[in-house]
Symmetry: C2
Subunit: 501 residues, 2 copies
């Protein structure tokens, strides 16, 4: 028989696969009948001007897929393929999706996603550590040493709750946040994101409500949303969540929990005041509403010791506490932890086991040894100094270049300056212009539940160099200045700016 | 004032904490009133016979927790603590739990859990690789080299879908299973357990049905159960899932998907025959039911090349494929992958991002380089030879020692021999006796949905040494022999054995 095969020799797809797939297609269409003997390899190779090995690979492919059979003597024949099945259209998954999947279909928001693309710009949009401070050498030595000395344990299955020796180190780290935890209640996670997800999993049902301060961490908003719950926003001011609104909101919405980042908040950089911490706990307890405390930045303080965590004041075990190694060591470590109320520990561990069995012993032990050798303490001291300098550089640049009408916070710790654009300017429009000018930040609205934060921008200082901070803020401020002038000039004409104020 | 403090000097709790907590207690009870000035540090230290630094630490602790304030000149005074809050009972979480959490409350089944405890026995219950074959040296060298040369990338955030270069390696590995995947449709996971969970998450709603062959993998049964779905079992025979039952079950229960381990099944060790693979796909397609194919053992074949994966025959994109590096390299690596239908890829990646942001670049790149240097191919060849020898040793020992009435499979690949005890014996009773005799295996019932598999046992040969396989099988068979005699003798008297047959 003659086969009708056309090869695209410039194409990316290997020739053998092109041959195989065209034969499959012809079998499925019924052009090549069952039982047909295909041309001998040598013959087909000649007619297509390809190597014989290409045809052999194509036939092997067809054999693997069950379309042909090869027998010595009788050559390669088309098997009794069930044409009915093979001709079916591509499977449609859409109508099988769960409610969670539906909420994931829309392009997911993510600063992370943006960050991954290669960009040649001043990336003040990052929420990440300075790679110059990643302890590469220390971790390289520790990793090699450990695999040689403890390899059997490190590469073996581990506890779903996490490596005991790392949990001991975490208990010790927790003391500097005022928390006296026990190894029994510490759970190791693949970053605190997994903690947000596991807590949601064990507490939330579609239709539930939760309360969170606004603005809030994007990754948390994203995960809560997929659980089909109602997100109730409490506004913030310079002292963090405005507690006055809390009790009314609790009584109205009966939330499953209150999610909060009380210390060096993302995106605002601010901390909940000491008085409000006590009020928050009091109101939450009085109404039997637990608290999910997210504390990724608690150790990165500049001027004073930070407020102790809410968990440190939690005498009733109503606070679930999350933190991470990402912000101090390196973001890609993917290792965080939870301090759980004793009643919940076993359930969270079971959920973790269902989710991914356990976190790898190797990376856990690496960070454990990094801590035990004193590197972690030193790293904290180092980055406090370095990020403080970066913060100061950013604040100085803002003071120097910012146009009238622009304002910003002075963070006492963490990664971010939170700024407000002059009247009438849109953070999203400014971002578009800024990216043209090779400067990036995060526009406020992503941190809000509704159409708020339109004039807010989050400026990260941890990732960029001192020089770039100064240069970036200068470019940005000049741009804001010129957009402001344009806005003022065209105030009546350009309606698109008007609803933003 | 005098404080009433009793110290337990032999106790585990540090003295400073004992002091602080007793003071907190007295404040909460109202024994120590607000505004009270605590004794000077030196004085209290003397009266308790402790170092002054212990009292300083105790007072710092109280300050951290917000119970006292220290001012130069006025000493340490009790703050205006809100007694109402502090006296509250421990928070009760029980009534806040989600449906998923409810299903996680009961002690979770897990072979893994057992394994973690230190035991001095012949562990034929494991589902794990032989640690002697863990490539410790190769990974140690690769890890150190990589952290020094690519540390900035490895410790930085990565793609939620997984490192591109690892996905390229996976595409290449997939060819040996007959699957022609694209990097766009490969998703890196923290072990294939995470894949089971993510697929459940995007497809299942409480009340849905899914079909799976019985017996099946415990970790999969566990995860499906937490989603509140109905599990519909299809029996298996020597050729795998008995397809004759399938279509009727589909029409009756309208399942969201069919979960199957078609190659070197866990626990049976058997493979779905070539004919049945085609029938399974045909029936599934005809009824618009997708397939979740779990293929952890597909690369570990002994006698012949394994059947190509179901995914290799999937012309309609109705199969989701899962596999892992655990069984070939080492169990604790926690790196698996999915080959997803194009329509689902973006949704699974979004779910992965919600779940834990992304897998760590470091471990991904380690395994990628391990593959690219040719170690992975070599490792597969090595363990095929070694596990084949172990399988043969186990089969020989069974042939030599097994009492009449006992039978077992001959696996062509994978980790397990699946055996049936003589009439009237209970796998669970035999396991109890075996553990007394320092031999472990997994009793059949955990792999079944209802009270089936009572006479089935799963014997692992990958983890134990050749010598222990022989010794373990001998001990086990002798024990079965003697239990069988006892059963036959007491047949009428010992009712407890009777319902088991």
């Amino acid at each position: 028989m003659e086969l009708n095969i056309k090869l695209d020799r410039q194409g990316k797809k290997p020739l053998f696969l092109q041959i195989a797939e065209q034969i499959v297609n012809d079998i499925n269409l019924g052009v090549i009948k069952q039982g047909t003997r295909l041309p001998a390899e040598r013959k087909l190779a000649k007619s297509l001007s390809v190597n014989r090995s290409t045809v052999i690979n194509a036939y092997n492919e067809l054999t693997d897929r069950g379309y042909v059979q090869s027998h010595i003597g009788s050559g390669t024949t088309v098997t009794n393929v069930d044409i009915e099945t093979e001709k079916e259209d591509i499977f449609v998954w859409r109508d099988l999706l769960s409610g969670q999947a539906e909420s994931l279909i829309n392009p997911y928001n993510s600063a992370l996603k943006e960050l991954l693309s290669e960009r040649n710009l001043i990336a003040m949009d990052a929420g990440i550590a300075d790679p110059d401070h990643y302890p590469k050498k220390a971790l390289a030595d520790i990793s090699q040493e450990l695999l040689l000395s403890e390899g059997n344990m490190l590469l073996q299955h581990g506890s779903p709750q996490g490596l005991l020796s790392l949990r001991e180190s975490i208990v010790s780290i927790m003391k500097s946040r005022g928390i006296h935890s026990q190894v029994e209640n510490v759970i190791v996670l693949n970053g605190s994101q997994q903690g947000l997800d596991l807590v949601s999993r064990i507490l939330l049902e579609p239709g539930d409500s939760i309360i969170l301060e606004e603005p809030s961490f994007l990754g948390a908003i994203d995960v809560f949303r997929t659980y089909g719950v109602r997100l109730v926003a409490i506004p913030t001011d310079g002292e963090g969540m405005v507690i006055d609104y809390l009790e009314k909101a609790i009584k109205r919405t009966k939330p499953k929990f209150i999610y909060t980042i009380p210390t060096y908040h993302n995106p605002t950089g601010l901390s909940l005041s000491s008085t409000r911490r006590k009020e928050l706990l009091k109101i939450a307890n009085r109404n039997h509403v637990p608290i999910l405390e997210d504390d990724p930045y608690g150790l990165i303080c500049f001027d004073n010791q930070p407020f102790p965590a809410l968990k440190a004041l939690d005498s009733t075990e109503s606070v679930i506490y999350l933190s991470t190694f990402s912000k101090v060591i390196a973001n890609g470590i993917r290792l965080g932890w939870m301090v759980a109320p004793p009643e919940l520990t076993r359930i969270v561990v079971a959920a973790k086991q269902i989710n991914d069995m356990h976190s790898g012993n190797f990376i856990q032990r690496m960070i454990d040894v990094y801590y035990r050798k004193g590197f972690f303490e030193q790293q904290i001291l180092d980055i406090r100094g370095k990020y403080k300098l970066k913060r100061d550089t950013m604040l100085k640049a803002l003071a120097k270049y910012a146009p009238e009408g622009m304002s910003w916070n002075t963070p006492q710790g963490g990664y971010f300056v939170w700024a407000t654009l002059p009247d009438g300017l849109s953070a999203i429009k400014v971002l578009e212009e800024a990216v043209h000018n090779k400067v990036a930040f995060v526009a406020g609205p992503v941190f809000y539940l509704n159409d708020n934060g339109l004039r807010k921008i989050r400026l990260n200082y941890s990732y960029v160099s001192l020089e770039d901070i100064n240069r970036g803020i200068k470019i940005l401020c000049n741009l804001i200045e010129s957009m402001k002038k344009k806005f003022t000039k065209n105030r009546v004409l350009e309606k698109e700016y008007l609803p933003i104020v």
